[in-house]
């Protein structure tokens, strides 16, 4: 089969999670979803409009993919408008993954900015599933406003399962009593043993640079911090050339990249 041929999937459910974002669950018309690892993505195709990379946020009980999509461009808007029973194309899963088991025995800091939590959800699920293997687990989430927070019920569940969940917002409403401002501020507050801590970071690039930078400043090894990077992507399989970041083809060498490698590349403007 040609690597650019999508498999037909059906939209099994569509739940708006905020004004511009939906949770889609997608199941193949035939057969089962291929297995995925935390951090991997699929190329989802909206018929007649185009195809975009979307992180896999989880697996449904029926075996489908949960994918959280925000309406930003033509393709994501079309995917957000799909209805239950609609046909979409799916290729993948593609890309590198977050090595969660490698953090066994360590403290873990998961830092999510905005939609970055959608990519990190399988990481937190994996941590919670094997809670006893890890030391202190902190999940810090930055979001625009209380209303734009992703997966609020799961955040409560994870907190009850022994994760220190901290949320900060840019624009508080009248009821908000939590922290306001950057995710970086929260890193200053949380407790971890830097020399045995792993960091998983995903969000806008400025947020990732700041968060990973702060972890390093507190003594976490850059090699133990992994980020998920985003670039324009047309193929997901190393043939379109769009997702280059210096030597990396992010569809093959990423999206999950160690901060040790990414820091140098992210520091070059417009690389």
């Amino acid at each position: 089969m040609h690597p650019m041929t999508p498999a037909p999937f059906l939209v099994r459910s569509r739940r708006p999670v905020r004004a511009d974002t939906v949770n889609l669950t997608l199941e193949p018309v035939e057969g089962a979803c291929p297995p995925f690892l935390p951090g991997q993505f699929t190329m989802i195709y909206a018929r007649g409009v185009g195809e975009i990379p979307i992180s896999i946020s989880g697996r449904t009980r029926a075996g489908g993919y949960l994918q959280t999509i925000r309406a930003v461009g033509a393709v994501s808007r079309a995917l957000c408008r799909t209805r239950r029973g609609d046909l979409v194309g799916v290729r993948g899963p593609y890309g590198t993954a977050w090595d969660v088991p490698a953090a066994s025995g360590m403290d873990v800091v998961v830092a999510a900015g905005g939609l970055g939590l959608a990519a990190l959800r399988p990481v937190v699920q994996e941590l919670v599933r094997h809670r006893a293997r890890y030391g202190r687990i902190s999940l810090i989430v930055g979001t625009r406003a209380p209303m734009t927070l992703l997966y609020p019920r799961e955040l409560d569940r994870w907190a009850r399962a022994g994760v220190d969940v901290q949320v900060t917002v840019d624009h508080p409403d009248h009821e908000w009593k939590g922290p306001i401002g950057l995710v970086t501020k929260l890193i200053e507050r949380i407790v971890f043993e830097p020399r045995r801590t792993a960091g998983f970071v995903c969000g806008p690039e400025v947020m990732m640079r700041a968060a990973a930078g702060e972890l390093v400043r507190r003594g976490v090894a850059a090699s133990r911090i992994t980020l998920s990077l985003e670039r324009n992507m047309k193929c997901g399989v190393g043939r379109c050339g769009h997702c280059q970041l210096g030597p990396l083809l992010l569809c093959l060498d990423g999206p999950v990249v160690s901060y040790e490698r990414a820091a140098r590349l992210m520091a070059v403007p417009e690389l």
Partner: protein, 357 residues
């Protein structure tokens, strides 16, 4: 390797045609050498030469009766290995159907050593990847490659620096060196099917004078190379020079026109387009050549990773000469010089690299 001499290319062209190949070779069109279908050696550009300089390409009269007395033409083999546009998928009635555009049996006559090297680079991208492209493989297998060893390198050529020429050493079915006094063609066989074709056309075994004459053609071509690049350590020093002031200088001359990427025989970047018919029932998805010089190439959520012309030129040159090694284990440049010749403002990569270093 069998080495034979042909008095004329006509029986070879005839034999390829009767074996079912469309023979494509150099012809003169629009005052340039273009690759097009030929039916006999009479279609080849006899007595044509060229003068290539930064931003300049002119045909001239070359050596009397010689058929290959010019350097790389604007056409490379790329459009035969990677068609400028190919339909990938057709969708109707809720089904995705893979489109096989077929693999035409084409015999490419006049492929230069740099272009053979470029095909080998594309093989790594499309066939040697973790997600190999079966359609590419079929096209490559259907492509019969007849190399021509360059006698007269162009003013913008630097294949010697890139280690790709001027003599074709691998990756061909047949390799031809055109000799004069008397006019004849030394033919080396590079594959079984190449040998089978040659065996069916009138030939004689090459004498040592023929072989020496051909060696001399390649030796002289190497000596007359128009340009050079010092590639020593380029994989390391070029990415490290990301803040060189030279990038600002070259960006002031670069129009971001994409010409260099279109004529480049290894530039493989593509984008995907959807077209739905008027009934709304059938949608076709096709892949077409794209260029890292366009603004939307790096667009993500309304912003551009490489918004400036400087960043786009730096990306192209750094990828071509350095980060290509990281991704594909080889240089992306084969030294054909097309990007220099066809740059409307005459930007010369060899000069830019020397200045950046």
């Amino acid at each position: 390797m069998d080495v034979v001499v042909l008095e004329s290319l006509d029986p070879l062209i005839e034999e390829l045609r009767s074996a079912g190949y469309t023979v494509v070779g150099p012809t003169v069109q629009d005052r340039a050498v273009r690759m097009a279908e030929i039916s006999s050696a009479a279609d080849l550009p006899a007595g044509v030469g060229d003068v290539q300089d930064p931003g300049s390409y002119r045909l001239t009269s070359g050596a009397d009766g010689m058929l290959f007395g010019y350097a790389a033409s604007p056409d490379s083999a790329k459009r035969f290995t990677q068609p400028p546009r190919q339909t990938l998928v057709r969708m109707r009635d809720g089904a995705f159907e893979e489109v096989d555009e077929g693999a035409p049996r084409v015999a490419l006559l006049g492929v230069r050593a740099c272009d053979l090297a470029a095909i080998a680079v594309q093989d790594r991208v499309f066939a040697g990847s973790r997600h190999p492209d079966p359609a590419y493989r079929r096209r490559r297998e259907a492509l019969f490659l007849i190399a021509v060893n360059c006698a007269v390198p162009g003013g913008t050529c630097f294949c010697v620096s890139m280690g790709t020429g001027p003599k074709a050493t691998a990756g061909f079915d047949l390799a031809v060196t055109e000799l004069d006094a008397p006019h004849r063609f030394l033919v080396e066989t590079g594959s079984e099917r190449g040998g089978e074709i040659v065996a069916r056309v009138p030939h004689r075994r090459a004498a040592s004078e023929d072989v020496h004459a051909a060696d001399e053609v390649s030796r002289m071509a190497a000596v007359r190379m128009g340009r050079q690049v010092d590639t020593d350590g380029i994989q390391h020093w070029l990415p490290a020079a990301h803040d060189s002031p030279r990038w600002t200088d070259v960006a002031s001359r670069c129009l971001s026109c994409t010409n260099c990427t279109m004529v480049c025989p290894t530039c493989f970047c593509s984008t995907v387009e959807d077209v739905t018919d008027l009934t709304g029932q059938v949608t076709e998805r096709s892949e077409r050549w794209d260029s890292c010089f366009t603004l939307d190439f790096s667009e993500v959520s309304g912003t551009h990773a490489r918004g400036s012309g400087l960043a786009r030129y730096r990306q192209w040159l750094t990828h071509k000469f350095a980060t290509w090694y990281d991704q594909f284990g080889t240089s992306g440049c084969v030294g054909c010089g097309r990007c220099i010749t066809w740059c409307p403002t005459g930007i010369d990569v060899t000069e830019e690299l020397a200045c950046i270093r």
